[in-house]
């Protein structure tokens, strides 16, 4: 009787573990969408083109991310230095790299908060609502009045 109870407990624990791991696996699953497809979709279905498209030098300047180390990126930023409106979606080559990129995005947000903390009430409100997250190998930093819509569009793609 005791042996049977032990066996049932072990089976239940194993089943629970597999269900939990399976749920985690599925929740973080991302489709393999190229950055070209993401950029094409984001530029035609959202208002990100109100910002200026940025190149490798800006990626390195604002996020300390080198273009060569990525698997593609999309970076749009307002031309005004007083604006915090920007969107960066970068695809990493590995999970470790995605963690590094996420840290870079968090650092960028912290530095923006340092800059605008003492006088930019509107900017601080937008930074407070900014999205800084990673899903699979993708990392995004999205800030601006339309951040939620841009974020939803991006998430629906992957």
């Amino acid at each position: 009787m005791k042996i049977r109870t032990n066996l049932i407990i072990k089976i239940l624990m194993t089943v629970f573990l597999f269900l939990y791991l399976g749920a985690l696996y599925l929740s973080d699953y991302t489709k393999d969408v190229s950055m070209v497809t993401i950029e094409s979709y984001m530029t035609s279905h959202t208002s990100i083109t109100s910002l200026k498209k940025r190149e490798r030098r800006d990626l390195s300047r604002y996020f300390s991310i080198e273009e060569e180390s990525t698997d593609g990126y999309l970076f749009y930023k307002d031309v005004s230095p007083m604006s915090v409106n920007e969107i960066l979606i970068v695809r990493a080559r590995s999970r470790n790299q995605a963690s590094d990129f996420l840290r870079a995005a968090e650092d960028h947000k912290a530095s923006q908060e340092n800059v605008f903390g003492s006088y930019g009430t509107d900017q601080m409100a937008l930074l407070g609502d900014a999205f800084v997250e990673s899903k699979g190998n993708y990392v995004c930093y999205i800030c601006g009045p339309d951040a939620a819509a841009w974020h939803d569009a991006f998430i629906s793609l992957i």
Binding site: K10, M13, Y20, L21, G136
Partner: protein
């Protein structure tokens, strides 16, 4: 949550300690400790709290299950089941992506897979729970029948996220009865501030030196490459030993005595000695649960060599799911073999200072494997250090880095040995008031630095 965080130091810790100290009764204190540990762990990513609690519950149950088995085959079967489930969890989060990536590279077939975040401290708590299971199986300890007590051991926040890997047997007595007092709180606070100083004032500032050097590794002169790796060498020591000091200090505040995890490794006279002083709890884990069961050194020479290489490849792999870590482990395995079979007598004949320089240089070279995450990056950095890939020997940027780093290097050099710390201990004994003032000044400096700087996690937390 990390220890070097304003919220942790000035909100979480004081509230937690007040509750822990003033709630009467050991059971109530145990409940507070478990609850505080769960809040601490869940702060960043609550989804993985389930995993940590499952791991504690599973190993608690399996400990009793192994103990209750009546025959040896049955005990062995239960041990194997417990080990498989623990390793399954570790491999799922840490090595699964690495394995699929390698299969993809070998076969040319692209296998898409999600990249899950690594649960914080998973390697540490899995190894801690495994040590408990092994110790129950080998009858070094009796299994714990109270989930509350096992829960305290398994989830305790001071050593949860980055070690030391505390064995159940080391703190078993304190799990039943521990001394909680104001003098111990003071000693614990002093350890904590010492660790915080290492992390915030030394380690975090060293990062500003090596990071830009590593990023431009293909275009730097020889001397800059050496400055970069020297900064990393000190950084990783102060980062990890700082965390361990904070963990030990928090343990003392709560009434626990954890073994030291670092014993001034950079003053070692050989790599063998270095590994007796660096990350002591991990080294002893691999010695007791892998190396000795494989036969240790009581086997033929080829098997002894095999055992050492297996242990060091696994030690490397434990640090990360990447070939550079395996290479780093094998590098140490090979040096240890050379020291054991070829250099043992020779090293004893040369002056102490030469032995220390020899060890320090080899350790610095080892950190290149550790810090550069791909083969091309490793080769590029070695190229810069030894000439073939360097842009000359020295340039104006080198002098800038040198001027920026020299004070930190001097402080690092002075504080990585026992001299300065022994002086502080004497000061603490002779004129405690001055020592307390010094601690308060250091805490204020750390606080100022934490307020100014952004989030900086511990390097070893990612393992």
């Amino acid at each position: 949550m990390v220890f070097s965080n304003i919220f942790f130091i000035y909100c979480f810790l004081p509230v937690f300690l007040l509750l822990y100290f003033f709630i009467p009764g050991k059971t109530a204190k145990d409940i507070i400790l478990i609850a505080g540990s769960l809040v601490f762990y869940a702060w960043g990513n609550p989804i993985y709290l389930v995993l940590m609690v499952f791991s504690a519950g599973f190993n608690y149950y399996m400990g009793m299950d192994i103990d209750d088995a009546e025959t040896e085959p049955s005990r062995k079967g239960r041990l194997i089941f417990a080990v498989i489930i623990n390793l399954l969890i570790l491999c799922f989060f840490k090595y699964y992506g690495f394995l699929l990536d390698n299969i993809s590279s070998l076969t040319g077939v692209s296998i898409a897979h999600p990249e899950l975040d690594l649960p914080i401290g998973i390697s540490f708590y899995t190894f801690k729970n495994l040590s408990y299971i092994f110790d129950v199986y080998t009858a070094r300890i009796y299994s714990q029948r109270s989930f509350l007590i096992y829960g305290v051991y398994s989830t305790m926040f001071p050593h949860m996220t980055a070690g030391p890997i505390v064995r159940y047997g080391e703190i078993e007595d304190q799990l039943y009865e521990r001394q909680i007092s104001i003098p111990r709180l003071g000693i614990g606070a002093e350890y904590f501030i010492k660790g915080l100083t290492k992390k915030v004032l030394i380690s975090d500032n060293l990062a500003g030196i090596y990071e830009p050097i590593f990023q431009s590794a293909g275009q730097i002169p020889v001397l800059t490459a050496w400055i970069g790796i020297l900064a990393y060498t000190f950084k990783i020591y102060f980062d990890f030993s700082g965390y361990s000091d904070m963990a030990i200090g928090l343990g003392k505040m709560l009434g626990f005595d954890f073994q030291k995890n670092f014993d001034y490794p950079y003053i070692s006279g050989s790599i063998t000695e270095f590994w007796r002083r660096w990350h002591i709890s991990l080294g002893s884990w691999f010695r007791d649960y892998i190396y000795i069961p494989l036969g240790g050194n009581r086997v033929s020479t080829p098997k002894h060599i095999r055992n050492i290489l297996i242990v060091w490849a696994l030690t490397g792999l434990w640090h990360g799911a990447s070939w550079n870590f395996v290479l780093w482990g094998v590098y140490y395995g090979i040096i240890l073999l050379i020291e054991k079979f070829l250099l043992a007598n020779f090293l004893d004949t040369i002056p102490e200072i030469c032995r220390r320089i020899y060890t320090f240089l080899l350790v610095m070279i080892g950190w290149v494997f550790f810090s550069q995450t791909s083969f091309p990056a490793i080769l590029r950095y070695f190229g810069a250090m030894f000439g073939p890939g360097a842009r000359g020997f020295v340039n104006s940027t080198t002098l800038y880095y040198f001027k920026t780093a020299v004070v930190l290097f001097v402080i690092s050099f002075l504080t990585c040995g026992p001299g300065l710390q022994n002086r502080f201990k004497r000061l603490m004994k002779n004129t405690p008031l001055i020592a307390v003032v010094l601690d308060i000044i250091l805490l204020c400096l750390c606080t100022a630095s934490l307020v100014y700087n952004s989030y900086s996690p511990f390097l070893y937390q990612q393992f």
